[in-house]
C-alpha cells in the first residue's frame, strides 16, 4: 500500500476507501487520463479540480464503472473493482451524480428517490419501506414540497436536490459529485455546500468535482488537480490553489 501524498494533512492515519493506481484512459490515440494515482480516505472530502478537458469526468466515469480504464487498477475497500459493472459498484456503495443531471424524467420525485432506496447499497426489497426511506431523504435535502412533482418539472436547484436525494437513498460509502454547483447562484451554492457537509457528517466519503473555487476551499480536506489528464498537484487546498503550476494551468503563464 503506497503512502498518501506528503502534504495530505492528517490523512496518513486513516484507511483508504478508494485507491487508484496508474489509471489511464486512451480514446483512440488521445490520452484523456494519464497514469493518475491517488487515494481517498474514509469520510474525507477530496476536491478534484482542473481546467475544462482535464479528464475529471472521465476519471469519475472510470470509478463509477461507465468507462473501463485502458490501464491501471482501482481498489475499493481493498478489493479490485475493475471487472465490476456499474450496478455492482453501486451495490458496494459507489454512487455518483452526473454533470448533466439525469433524473428519471417521467417519474415523480418520490419515485426517483425510491429507485435509489430499492437498488442501492441498502437494496430495500419492500416497496413501502423503500418509499418511507425515500421520503426521509427528500426531507433531508429540502425537497418535501415537491414530493409528487414530475422530475422534469423541477427547476435547476430542485433538480440538484433531487440528484442528492437519489444518491443518498442509495446509502453510498463513496459519493462522486460531478459539478453539482454549475449554474447555481451564490445563495444556492451556499445551500449545496451545507448539504455536502451534512452528508459528510453522516459518514460518507465524497469526491467533489467543481469549478466554484470558493466551494472547493470551504469543503475539501485535500485537493487534487488534473491538467491534460495528468495529476499536477495534490494536497492541502490553500497550498494547492497557490501552487504556481496550478495557477498556470488555469490562467496561463505569467509574463516575466
Amino acid at each position: 500500500m503506497s503512502a498518501p501524498g506528503e502534504n495530505a494533512a492528517g490523512a496518513t492515519t486513516r484507511i483508504p476507501i478508494l485507491q487508484a493506481e496508474g489509471i489511464t484512459k486512451r480514446f483512440s490515440g488521445l490520452v484523456s487520463v494519464n497514469r493518475v494515482s491517488f487515494e481517498m480516505y474514509e469520510n474525507e472530502i477530496l476536491g478534484l479540480i482542473g481546467p475544462n478537458g482535464a479528464g475529471k469526468t472521465t476519471l469519475v466515469n472510470m470509478i463509477s464503472g461507465t468507462l473501463k480504464p485502458s490501464d491501471g487498477e482501482l481498489r475499493f475497500e481493498g478489493q479490485p473493482i475493475d471487472a465490476l459493472p456499474p450496478y455492482q459498484r453501486a451495490h458496494l456503495g459507489i454512487c455518483r451524480t452526473f454533470q448533466v443531471m439525469k433524473p428519471f424524467p417521467g417519474m415523480s420525485v418520490l419515485e426517483n428517490v425510491t429507485v435509489g432506496a430499492l437498488f442501492g447499497r441498502g437494496g430495500e426489497k419492500v416497496m413501502a419501506k423503500a418509499r418511507r426511506s425515500a421520503r426521509e431523504w427528500i426531507d433531508f435535502t429540502g425537497l418535501s414540497h415537491r414530493v409528487d412533482a414530475r422530475a422534469d418539472s423541477l427547476g435547476g436547484p430542485d433538480r440538484k436536490r433531487l440528484e442528492f436525494a437519489k444518491a443518498l437513498a442509495m446509502e453510498p460509502k463513496l459519493l462522486l459529485l460531478d459539478e453539482v454547483m454549475a449554474g447555481l447562484n451564490a445563495v444556492e451554492v451556499e445551500e449545496v455546500i451545507e448539504l455536502i457537509k451534512k452528508m459528510r457528517e453522516r459518514g460518507v466519503t465524497i469526491l467533489v468535482i467543481e469549478h466554484v473555487i470558493k466551494a472547493i476551499r470551504s469543503l475539501s480536506d485535500r485537493v487534487l488537480v488534473l491538467h491534460h489528464g495528468e495529476k499536477i498537484a495534490e494536497g492541502d487546498p490553500a497550498a494547492v490553489l497557490e501552487d504556481p503550476r496550478v495557477v498556470e494551468a488555469y490562467l496561463g503563464r505569467r509574463r516575466q
Binding site: H91, C95, F104, P105, G106, M107, V115, L118, M127, A130
Partner: protein, 315 residues
Amino acid sequence: MRPLPLAIAAVVVVLLVFVPWLASDVMMQFAIDALLLAVLAQAWNILGGFTGYVSFGNSVFYGLGTYGAAIAMAQFHLPFWVGILLGIVLAVLCALLIGIPILRLRGPYFAIATLGLAAAMGAIVSNLPIAGSNIGLVLPLIRADTMFYELSLGLLVLCTLTVLWVSKSRFGMGLVAIREDEDAAGTMGINTTVFKIVALVLSALFTAVAGSIHAYWISFIDPASAFDPTLNVRMVIMAVFGGPGTVFGPLVGSFILSAIYEYLASSISTAAALLFGIVIVLAVIFMPRGLANMIGGVRARGPRYFLQNIRENRL
C-alpha cells in the same frame, strides 16, 4: 392504484365470464379475437410500455406459440395443454437466445433488429418439414367457442394481473427506471441486462400462449399468418393508443380499436382500413400519450388538453 378501478375491473371480468351464454356466433368470433389481441397488447406493454423497448419482434413469440400447439397436436397427437407448454418453451428459449444480443441495442436500433426477426423466423419455419414447411399444419377440428373464449379471458386476466404486479413492484420500478434513463439506472444499482431479459421473457410467454389458443381455435396455420408482421403493428398501435406503461390502458385501447375496426369492416368494408388509419392519425395528434393520459389530462385541463398536445407537436 386506488381500489375503485380494481373493483370496476373485477365486476367487468365477472360479467365477461357470462358472455358466451348471451352472444351470437358472430359476436363470439369477435370477442375471442378481441380478447387475444388484448393479451398481445398487454404482453407487449411489459416490454414496450414499462421498459421502453419498442419491440416489433413479439409476433415471433406469437408464431412460436402457434407452431408449438400445431406441432404437438398435428404431428404428435398430443393434448392441447402440451401444445401450449411446447409453445411457451419455444418462445422463452427464443426470447433468451435473441434477448441477450438484441437487448444491447437501444431505441430505433432495437426496433429495427426485432423487425428482422419475424421475417427470419417465418423463413426458417417454412423450411422445416416438422412444421409443415410452407404449406402449414392442420390441427384437430373442434367446435368449442365457449372454451376458447373462457381460455382467452383467463389468459387476459392473468396477463393483466402480472402487469398490475409489475406496476407496483420493485421489479417494475427497475423497468421504468430503465425506460426513463438506462445509464442512470445502471449506476443506481439496477442490473439492467437481467431486468430487460426478464421483461422480454414475460412478454414472450403471454404472447406465445395467445398464439397457441389462436392456432387451436382457427385449426389451420401457415408461416405467413403465424409470423405476420402486421399483427405486431396492431399490438403496438393498441397498446400505445390505450396508454403504454399503464395497467388498463392497453386493454381499453385494444377493445376500443377492435370494436371500431369491426364496425367499420361490417358497415363499409372497402374503406374500413382507410378509416381505421384516420382514427389512428387523429389519436396520435390529439392524444399522443394514449387514452389513460388523456383521461387524466382532460379531467385536469378540459379541452385545453387537446390544444396543448397539438401545440407541443407543432402541428
